[in-house]
């Protein structure tokens, strides 16, 4: 009953950054220690590296910590902060708490999905650029409707505003490269 449809980046794209990341995994394990109590901090830092927790890395961590892979999987699936699916470079969290909902978070969400070309239940674009999720409250109800792109908060969103923000984001990204 293996779950299908788990997002994985294309092979070539993965391997370029993989080596650096795997070195980092070992650095994390060595720094935090190979004890069972270090599991959660290790998972947190590893997720920072990969943007999710790949299966083979979880098995590797289990081996290093002397745990069964089933137990590591159990911890990784218990906490909402961990993802076993690859996430996009930009994670957009659209708040759909009461305040945001009544001030129009739905049209904002629809605009984002249309813009990044996500349909149905899909959360991450196939080029692994964007992940779009809804969250229950970001604690910034005064700015409703509110959303986050990675660590940055954007308040008083409208469908028009989001397009401007994403234009800006893509322009900055192009300039970086």
């Amino acid at each position: 009953m293996k779950q299908e449809g788990v997002n994985q980046a294309p092979k070539e794209e993965r391997s370029t950054t993989y080596q650096r990341k795997f070195e980092k995994v070992n650095e994390i394990i060595n720094r935090l220690g190979r004890s069972q109590s270090a599991l959660i901090p290790i998972l947190q830092e590893v997720q920072e590296e990969y943007r999710y927790l790949p299966e083979e890395i979880l098995t590797y961590i289990a081996t290093a910590l002397g745990l069964s892979p089933a137990s590591v999987f159990g911890v990784a699936t218990f906490y909402a902060q961990f993802s076993l699916e690859a996430k996009g470079k930009y994670v957009i969290k659209v708040c759909d708490g009461t305040a945001c909902h009544v001030r129009g978070s739905n049209p904002v969400l629809a605009a984002i999905k249309k813009r990044v070309n996500l349909t149905g239940d899909k959360k991450t674009t196939s080029d692994l650029r964007y992940t779009v999720e809804t969250v229950s409250c970001l604690g910034a109800c005064g700015l409703a409707p509110v959303l986050m792109i990675n660590d940055k908060i954007y308040g008083q969103m409208t469908p028009e505003a989001i397009n401007i923000i994403l234009d800006q984001l893509e322009k900055e990204e192009a300039a970086d490269e």
């Binding site: 092979k11 391997s15 795997f22 081996t63």
Partner: protein, 670 residues
Amino acid sequence: MEQKNAVYIDGQLVELNGEKNILELTRKIGIEIPTFCYHSELSLYGACRMCVVEVEGRGIMASCSTPPAPGMKILTNSPRVQRVRRTVLELLLANHDRECTTCDRNGSCKLQELANRFGVKKIRFGERDVKLPLDHSSHSLVRDPNKCILCGDCVRMCAEVQGIGVLDFAGRGSKTVVTPAFHKNLADVDCVNCGQCSAVCPTGAIVVKDETDRAWAFIHNPEKLVVVQVAPAVRVALGEEFGLPAGEIVTGKVVAALKRLGFDKVFDTSIAADLTVIEETHEFIQRLQNGERLPQFTSCCPAWVKFAEHNGVEYLKNLSSCRSPQQMFGSLVKKYWAKEIGKKPEDIIVVSIMPCTAKKYEAALPQFATGGIPDVDLVLTTQELARMIREAGLVFDQLDVESFDTPFGFTTGAGVIFGTTGGVAEAVLRAAHEFVTGKPIDQINFEAVRGFAHRKEATVEIAGQQIKVAVVHGLANAKTLLQEIKEGKADYQIVEVMACPGGCVGGAGQPIAPTMETKKERAKGIYNADKLSQLRKAQDNPVVTKFYDQWLAKPNSAAAHEALHTSYSNRGRINGEEIELLTSKQPDTVDIAVCVGTCCYLNGSYDTLQKLMKLATATDVKDRINLHATFCLEQCEQGPVIKVDDEIINGVTPDTVEKVFAEKIRPKLG
């Protein structure tokens, strides 16, 4: 009057004698508090909340995890307790597939029993509408997550008693499930098929794979000669299914029942066990004389063998190469006996009645087939045989006893005690002295290796040499022993391992045993059967001697090796993906895989990998190397292991990696 060291239970004054929890105390005074997740051999979990009692001044408490305190006033059946228990049951049932009539555990389900006992007639909550898929991948077990009540008994059994941890909880809240890692199937992880999870499961969430239909099909096929072998442990447990006490020897009735069911020949696996003793003891003596591959581990238990293939690969060479008695039997029947009676192997069907779920998996292994025809066609557990007897309407109690057929029906006590922990070691000890010195040993009973202690030890002198024997049951105990051997803290020459607590008498294919006491009674039955045997030593079995004369020449001969021995392979831990580190788009590249499985990791494969990575990214070879970390290259005893294209290179430590790179890899790059 207040007593200093006593509590009141339902108004009755009960003295405390160091009981750890209220539940233990109530059971002592004959009150049966219902439980799902409480097993005395497992850790306390306190999840199911069935065992609630009311404690004055403290309210409703879980009796399994509340220590009794002097002066406590405990009510076990107050209106409040009754209400809570019923609600708990209703909630569990709301989340449970209630297709009782078609469930394997219909009639032996604890949830069903308690719902009946506590008069739950109506469930106020809706039924779960999402159906999760069943896992049929295992040869031995079927997992149905829709029947799981999340008591965690299987999780703790596998981790604590068997030391594996195949199953654990995943997800949270209403989406919690018990599953192998990454929702994989049982067949794709390091499950050893011991089935102890199914033996503690209170419901039908994990059950033994039922193959009685296949048995009927064989029996009803007139073109096949269907022979059946019965393992030792079956004869002291089957009676329980029909109301007889545990440990009662019902061999004669089992034979009678099998004949009435339509099996053409009924044989005894114990004769193959006698054969195993002779082969295994000769193998041991040879190793002892050469001083190699010691300790010798027994290999009759397929769950232990698979455990070693996953977790103790550096000791695979120490396992006796003997097949288990079940497989020796099948091999002899199909290779030799068939010819003798003028039949083709494919026209004979070998069915086994086993106390064991792992035997189903063992029989299906490709190495135990001759020309594509399995040596053992079908394995039924004691439970399945009971089902067939019921289906056929046989009144077990009233069956007249019958005896086994020839030639595979004559056994000694040595072959019978294989059914309990310590039995294989004892049978070997009864033979070893005689094989070395030529003189039979006076001692028949080796009490030191009997009983249910986690580890049993004995020292026996053979021709001036002290032979140290260890016996363990429960794979967690085997794991500890392996670790001690690895660290040089334990020194034995023979180690017997049986995966199930109590050995085969406690196998998961046996009738569900509520307590360890049942298993102890069965073990007693086994030793009684041994006592009743006229011949107690395997080497005294005249039929086995005849087998050697006719078919096998002598112990450990080429013919014996061909028919009775096997080899083992490393299985890694989990079907995992590789971790890709460097991928090149160039056409003529070299592929390097570095093992980061448990053994290699502990041997320092990570440092090897680090160095290789540096070497591989050096400018002149850049983009010419594909590098990945893989989970097992199956050479664990010589780790760290790397694979360069198709060549496996052992012992690549951080110190030698540069040399290996220069000699093995660089030349390939031109």
